[in-house]
Amino acid sequence: MAEPLISVKDLRVAFGGASGPIEVVRGISFDLGREKLGIVGESGSGKSLTGRSIMRLLPAGARLSASRIAFAGEDLQKASERRMEEIRGRGIGFIMQDPKYSLNPVVTVGEQIAEAYRLHVKASAATARERAIAMLRTVQIRDPERVFGMYPHEMSGGMGQRIMIAMMLVAEPQALIADEPTSALDVTVRLEILALLDDLVATRGLGLIFISHDLNLVRRFCDRVLIMYRGRVVEELAAGDLGQATHPYTRGLLEALPRIHARRPRLPTMQRDPNW
């Protein structure tokens, strides 16, 4: 196999507690190729911290250790902060859950996309503007010239997320980390955004890490899934094989979901084993 895009070995993240550090990510390892890798878990499982560790965007007080975090063969733990700024955006794009909080409210969305481009590519303002408008068209925004001059509060949730995707792709990264990119969206809008993401990942040959709490979504959308519980990967499966999951936590999650087409009088609840 060729060099993986992203390689993580024995990743650990701890926060200082009153009675010693508490480890919240406890030895995660995986490689990402040009594929769609899902990381699924409930709140507190450490899935978001795993994504943020790769970008070196951890909250203050978090302590990270890993035997390896690499992007295209480059050791990210040894990278300078300046080098990381190049990698963030140009190497790996990062899409967050809620566009309302990740866009600057007082700058037009077009300027924000153009700025992301000029941060990574030497270009004139006019070229950056052209690139931004082309990118808006790529994410299927109608009338991109007009939308270029609009502010984030004038966007719907789905439009906002298209803008975020445009901003992340304009610097042409090789990998994308998307942290719950569709969780704040309505189901019909979610469908459109996922189709767009799927198409862009396929045509550009990107590697995608898709972080989500939604097991059903991930199994339909991704190629491979890691299931996280309390800082560990409890099971790894090809997305299509999730129905044959063997770990009781994975099974419990699947069973606990209310179903539209197969109603049950009660939802099975989980008995959590402290040894998981």
């Binding site: 409930e42 709140s43 949730g157 309505d186 189901v187 019909t188 809008v189 979610r190 469908l191 996922l194 709490h213 939604d214 097991l215 059903n216 979504l217 339909r220 959308f221 129905g243 419990g252 999650l253 606990a256 979901l257 209310p258 179903r259 539209i260 087409h261 197969a262 109603r263 049950r264 009088p265 009660r266 939802l267 099975p268 609840t269 989980m270």
Partner: protein, 255 residues
């Protein structure tokens, strides 16, 4: 059987003159005693506004709401609160951060001057699966699921007939959602409660309700039986679209 909740031609309008928008536009439905009726739709469809209008938190611009044959006026009195209580989406926002669980449970008893407040609060905590140890805790010391249990316990304090449930599990993890939905089903069966349940999640609606109304843009586009929903039979194109979007990244379908 006479309907317990009867909504007829309900309109909720915000804004003046040219700016006026109808958040709820001429909506009618009725709910039988003991039934769980669902309101499903996407953001901005008006589903929550209907609950808020019934609870007196949104203005009823036109139309009528009857509870057990009694028309609701512009304000809600104490008698209304004893019949009908609401549970909100966000258990982080709907509890007072600086009051103990016990004090928040006792508030309805204080307002309604109930002599047996403490006995009721003890029963309510038990009914939602919380123990005496939780009495003196503050909301920040509880998990999201426990907080939602407290919110449900508070709604049960006055022994209401009707619970208005506004996305009661959308802020919760799926494993916790399963526990809360089971709890709600148990309470409904044991106490003969009537639920009006708002959710954006067709799975939750199908699990809890026998019948529901599909909302879009303030309009009730279709009333659908869950059996039809489960079979994928939708008459209105919007319902079909919603169902298709939910199925595209949803559960495995048998067969």
């Amino acid at each position: 059987m006479a309907a317990l909740i009867e909504v007829e031609g309900l309109v909720v309008r915000y804004g003046e003159d040219a700016d006026a928008r109808r958040a709820v536009d001429d909506v009618s439905f009725s709910v039988q005693p003991g039934e769980t009726f669902g309101l499903v739709g996407e953001s901005g469809s008006g589903k929550s506004t209907i609950l808020r209008a019934i609870a007196g938190l949104a203005p009823i611009s036109a139309g009528t709401v009857h509870l057990g044959g009694v028309p609701l006026g512009t304000t809600r009195d104490a008698a209304f609160c004893r019949r009908c209580q609401m549970v909100f989406q966000d258990p982080y926002g709907s509890l007072h951060p600086r009051q103990t669980i016990w004090s928040q449970l006792m508030e309805p008893a204080r307002i309604h001057r109930l002599a047996d407040g403490e006995a009721r609060a003890t029963r309510a905590l038990e009914a939602v699966g919380l123990g005496a140890v939780h009495r003196w805790r503050y909301p920040h010391q509880l998990s999201g699921g426990q907080r939602q249990r407290v919110a449900i316990a508070r709604a049960l304090m006055l022994d209401p007939e009707i619970l208005l449930l506004d996305e009661p599990t959308s802020a919760l993890d799926v494993s916790v959602q399963a526990e809360i939905l089971n709890l709600l089903s148990d309470l409904r069966d044991r106490r003969g409660l009537t639920f009006l349940l708002v959710s954006h999640d067709l799975g939750v609606i199908a699990h809890m309700c026998a019948r529901s109304a599909v909302m879009a843009g303030g309009v009730l586009v279709e009333e659908i039986a869950t059996d039809d929903l489960a079979a994928g039979i939708a008459r209105h194109p919007y319902t079909a679209k919603l169902l298709q979007a939910s199925d595209a990244y949803g559960e495995d379908r048998p067969g």
